[in-house]
Structure formats: C-alpha cells, structure tokens
Symmetry: C2
Subunit: 428 residues, 2 copies
C-alpha cells in the first residue's frame, strides 16, 4: 500500500465535493489500486466561509503557495479557476516535480501549451479530464483510446446552460427570455449569463478539444463563436417542421487544406442524429474518426459531483503513474493553422423577412445566385404585409453567404435578416 498525499487548491463547488468523495471512496480505491489517497492540505480564499463538516478544519489554509510547496503534498489539484494565481501555482507545482490535476478550462484554453510543456519538461502528469465536459470521460478516450485514430471532426454540446435553454424552447415552446429566466431560477445560468449564452465557455472547451484531437496549440481567441441570444421561437418551430433541433455546437475539424476549423455556433441538427437527443443540461461530445466511425460521449458537463468524479479519476491515474515512475504526455503541440471562418463550408438556414409583393422572391433569389449560394429548399409564411422566407442552402462558403446577407439587407424589399444557422447533416 502506497499513501499519496494530495493538496487541493480551492474548496468551493468542486473542491468541497472532491475532498468528500476522496474520503468516501478511499477504502474502495485502496482495494482496487493499492493506493491510499490522503488529502493533507486544502487552500481556501477565506477561513470564515462554512465548509463541509466532514473536512478536518486543520487542513485549511489561505496560503495556496504553501500547499504547493508543502513536502507533505505529493500531488496538487487546482480547482480555484481563472488565470492567476492558478497558472503560477500549477507551474510552480510541476517544476517541483509534483503532478497536477486541473479542471481549469479558461487557463488551459489560454496557456495550455506553456503548462503542458512545463509538465513534460519536469516529467510529471498534468491531467485535465474535468476541463472539457465535466464528468464525461472525453479527454482520456481522445488521448489514449483514440491515439491511433485519425479524427476528422469533433462536435460537442459542451455548455449545459445553453442546452437547457434550447431544450425548454424546443419542448415547452418557451421564449429565449423565459427559458433563460428559468435556467437562472434553477441555478443553471448565472445572473450575468454572457459567458454561457454568447459561447465563450464553449469556445474555451472547443480550443482544448481541438488541441488534443489534432495536436496543435489552439487557443480560445482562435475560436469563432456565436451565441444563442438571437434564436427565436420561429427558428425553433421551423427547425422542428423541417426535421431539425437547434443546438449550440462546439466544432473542431481537420479540413483537407491541413488547417483546423474551430468554432462555436447554433446549428440545425437532424432529429435522428444522436446529438439531437441530448436534452436539458446534459452535455455530449460526438467524435468522427476515419476508422472507428461515429462515437458519442454523453453525461453531466458540470456540477460538483460529476466534476469531482472526473478529477478523482485523473488523481488516481497520476498516483498510479507516480508509483510506476511514468507519466502521460499530450506530446508536443504544433502551431495551429486555424481556418478563417470565411472559408467554412456548410449548409445554412436563413430567416429573411420581406415585403409581400410581386417580384420580391425573384429579387431575393437573384442575390443568392449572384453569390453562387444554391438554395436547397424554401418555405414562405405570410405575415400581413410581409412574408417570412426560410431558406436552407446547399453547402456554401461562409464568405459567400455573408456577402449574400449583406446584399439582401441592402434591398428595399427586405425588412430584416433574422437568424443564420449552420446545418449539420449529410450535405456538410
């Protein structure tokens, strides 16, 4: 039996459940692995906040650096989040030869390459299963099970808040505002929901997914992102009628040019696609491989219990590696050649409000033709003096679609351009 002493930085929503989970599972873990996990230090911001009663109060300190430096700490878990001091603490830990487990997506999406390089130089693990999709094992399958696979595309529903909102809009006919208010009341959305609903959170996760799937240092600022604030009940209803559901997707793909496409945006997903069945605040990551075909990993992308479970899996892995004197590596991340969003090719759903008078459709169709954007289907709905035109295009270049929209917007007969939603499917 080998005792492994764990220092935990942060004891909030994830750190608290983690320390409790380690205590609850430690006999089982010892029986299965011969490792005894012992939490010896816990860094907190304030000693005055109430903490789980099961945690010995003598473990707490407000000096996070002292936890990292403590000779009684073998492995460091970082669950304080944010850029600093998390970055400094992780670098300091790995440089002193201590493996680190983190769930810090913001930090990894900004400075992952630096941190991985430091861990590799020190020959220690830097594990981060919890950073992409909470409790869902996706980082380890991508890094290990699929290390021999040529991955062509990954599409994830990696933000539970927006998936909850879209599910309520789809299933209960709620408006965006009502669904957001409901998500806030349930604690699924923050008072300021920007990071979720504008796609920043999903963007950070997309950067990490792209980095590990394609071995290149993709950062959050490489990721084109659009949120769900513009999605209306009309879009939801048309989607349903045409056999789609609308999901906020994080997409990372390898394109024939050798570039990596990486983006977050709402998408029309066919109802019989496995991602369409991912409801409420659940997450899922859909992986397309050249040999393995389609895979999907589904579960809870957030929450204390699921996230703590993912961190515990990493912790045991790092402890086993430490015992055997080995460590895992993400390898050398290459420079990411990120495809400009203008070069994306996709089918599109477009919602255009026009004056309902003769000749308008011909005028509108002419604009599509000018930019070589080919229309797959069109539906028209009367709105008094106006009409709503819903187009699904064939596969087209983003730049051409945007040019089409600019020209449409300039037409007198066009009142308003509504949602522009990329379509996932056979045509893509």
């Amino acid at each position: 039996m080998v005792t492994v002493r764990v220092g935990v930085l942060g004891c909030g929503n994830v750190g608290g459940p983690l320390v409790e989970l380690i205590a609850a599972q430690s006999d089982d873990i010892e029986a299965r692995t011969g490792l005894r996990l012992d939490v010896t230090r816990v860094a907190v911001r304030s000693l005055d906040k109430p903490r789980p009663a099961s945690i010995d109060p003598r473990l707490f300190t407000t000096d996070a650096a002292s936890v990292v430096d403590d000779p009684d700490v073998d492995i460091v878990v970082e669950v304080i989040g944010g850029m600093e001091p998390a970055r400094e603490l992780i670098l300091s830990a790995v440089k002193s030869g201590k493996p680190v487990i983190t769930g810090n997506k913001e930090l990894l999406a900004a400075a992952g390459a630096e941190l991985f390089q430091a861990a590799e130089a020190a020959g220690v693990d830097l594990l981060f299963e919890a950073a992409v999709a909470g409790g869902i094992p996706i980082v380890r399958p991508l890094r290990e099970s699929l290390v021999g696979e040529r991955i062509t595309r990954v599409m994830g529903i990696v933000n539970g808040t927006t998936n909850y909102i879209l599910t309520r809009m789809t299933e209960a006919g709620a408006s965006y505002a009502d669904a957001l208010a409901e998500a806030q009341a349930l604690g699924y959305a923050e008072a300021d929901p920007t990071a979720d609903v504008e796609g920043y959170d999903a963007g950070a996760k997309a950067a990490i997914i792209a980095s590990i799937a394609f071995g290149a240092a993709v950062v959050a600022s490489d990721v084109h992102h659009e949120g769900i604030t513009g999605i209306t009940e009309i879009d939801i209803a048309f989607a349903r009628r045409m056999g789609f559901v609308i999901k906020l997707l994080a997409v990372a793909e390898q394109v024939p040019s050798g570039e990596i496409g990486v983006r977050v945006h709402p998408a029309m997903v066919p109802v019989d696609h496995p991602l369409a069945a991912v409801r409420e605040s659940f997450n899922a990551v859909f992986v397309e491989g050249a040999s393995v075909g389609d895979l999907m990993f589904y579960g809870r992308g957030a929450g204390g219990g699921p996230t703590a479970s993912a961190i515990l899996g990493d912790l045991i892995d790092a402890a086993l590696n430490r015992r055997s004197g080995s460590h895992s590596s993400v390898g050398q991340l290459g420079v990411a050649k990120v495809r400009p969003i203008d070069d994306l090719e996709s089918a599109y759903y477009l919602n255009v409000q026009v004056l309902d008078r003769p000749g308008v459709l011909a005028q509108v169709a002419g604009v599509f033709g000018d930019h070589r954007v080919s229309i797959r289907s069109m539906e028209q709905e009367g709105l008094g003096d106006e009409a709503r035109l819903i187009f699904i295009t064939h596969r087209a270049r983003e730049a051409h679609v945007q040019a089409t929209l600019r020209d449409l917007d300039a037409l007198d007969a066009v009142d308003r351009i509504g949602s522009v939603i990329r379509v996932v499917g056979d045509d893509e």
Copy 2:
C-alpha cells in the same frame, strides 16, 4: 524512437483491417508517441485465402504458436476468436512476458479471471477494449476514468444485429421475420442468427462489463438471458403508444444486498432516455454512477474498422506501458455473488390475450392481486371474440410476476400469454 514488433493472430474481418490501419497510421503514431509499430508476423488458418494486397505475404504463417514464441514479436494481438487455441496462445504469450491485446468476448466471458491472473502474475498487460462494444471506448473509461466512482448500474445496447432488427420493426413497422431477413441481407445477421437474437452475444459482453464495473468474476453462464424472437409488431406498437421503445439491454447492477444483478432481455425504454435514440446497428453503454450521474458511450459495436481502432488504441497503450516498465491491471476479481433472476425487481409490460366476456378482467386482476403484483396501467384492445390486455405493473419481484403468469395461463379465459418485457424508468 522505440520500435515495437507486433505479432497478429488472425487476419480476417478484424485482423486484416488492423494490419492495414497500423501501416496507415504508423507515421502519425510515431510523431505522437515516439513508438514505431511494426507488424512482424501474422498467423492465418490458410495461406491460400486472399489477403489485403498491402500486407507483405512473407509475414504470414499458419503456425500461431510460432508467432507467440518468436523473439521478433514483442506484443501479441489475438483476433482469431473462440476458446481454443486462443486461450492457450494468450496464456503462453503472457507467461513469456509478452503483453496481449484481445477482442475475444467469448473467451473473456468464460475464462477472464484465469487470463487476467496470469497476466498480473507475469506483470504484463492484457487489454480487451474491443471485446465489449467494438470501437466504443468503454473498458478504459470504466477501468481508469471511473476507477474512483461507485458504479451502481450499467445498461448496454451491445448487440448491433438485434438493435438493427428492433429499429426496423419500430421505424418501418416490419415484422420480426422481415427485419431479420433484411439484417441478413445486409450482412448484419448471420445465416444462423441464434447467438445474436437469443442474447448469447450480449450475455458474454454483460459478463465482462459486470466483471470490470464491480470487480467480480462474472461468467457468461451467470447471465440470465432472453432474446428478441418473441417480440411482435403488437408489442412495438403498444410501446410506442405508451412512450417507450423496445431495446435488447444487457444490464449489470449492484443491488443493496451486495449481490450483482446481470441479465440480458428486451426492455421498454422511455423515448426520452438516451438509449432510446440509439438506432440501427449502433451500440451504446449507459453507466450510472453515484457521483458522476448518468453517462453514455455510443458508437459502432462491431465491424472491422471500429474493432481494429479499439485494438490499435490498446496496442499503443501496451507499447507505452512496456516502454515505461509499467502495466495496467484489472485487480483481483472477487467471487461473484450473482442475484438469482427471481429476485429481480422491476416494472413489467405484459401482453395477455383473453376471451372477451364479462368477468374476465376481474378474474385476471385477481390473479395479479394474489401475487401482490400491482398494476400501474392497463389497456384493452378488442380482437373479435377475444381481447388483448396490456398491463404495465408497478415495481414487482420477478418471481411474483412469473407466478402470476403461470396462474393466468391456467385460467380458461386466458388464451395466450404474449410478451413479458421489463420496463426501464423512474419506477425501477
């Protein structure tokens, strides 16, 4: 760079694509891991059969034991299937210190404990990702990501043939016979489909899942199994009307008594359950954990490419472990205390054909009451002189339901007992 020399036993549906995949991916694998995989020997049953042109014919031999013993083979891949000589060859390989990768579910479900023990004694890897659900990473997530998690239940759609048949019955209204014929025409079902449609294949996988999820040596003969040959269009239609789809599930669960429940049978799955969206020949494994909540792993459970991909992931893992001088272990498998099927508690769907005359329903309901099986809902459908009664029960003990069915069958007014299908859901 380290070269790892691989001996492959079998070059059929999986071995052929594997040797080709290794060749196609070897530069990428070398770039990512520093390992060069080199297939040095391939054992086949006949030298006369045509093989993929890309494989150097000089690699082939009909002497499988010579591949295992060859000093130019560092790691052995067993993809010949069946009990012997696979078992002997694997034992011989691990005893001589060579890691083994296998996808042989039949062998592992019968003799897994012996093989794991031999590998552990020799300090080498025995990896088997491909044995449970083809290309879906499920063994590694269960063994590694979830090693700290208390798993309560695993439910899998682990047989693509039966899932294809049930999907066609559900979506195209096909009869069982027509759907089976279609599956055979497409190569999804064998000429003799018994192993698939009677649940033997799923039973072997259930035994392996139970063994790794609960650390006990469950074997195929421990698994209660029922197939799908008795499922009718009537059952499918009633399921749909009541908000379910019928799936063949392999279930492994830890019950409060400390026993392990492990079984294969058709089940009513609520349409909004993630397993309900698993269509055609796809597989999925749904895992319920105390801390992580619900997880699902979805993908291709069979086929040369997906299975070869899973084996390649294991092969790289074993090669990395070999380089670092470590190996993974399933731990000591305890004795399995398997709960008798009679002690199962579940809700049930029952289809009973009765004579349509006064008093019959009271008589039938009385039998349920005698055995304390409580009815949650009942639907009646006229059939001329007869009526079909469809019952959904509350949670009841299997033994009580079976006794109810025996007594019902003895009633003059009961013409026929149709399907008995366990219901998955909140009540369970």
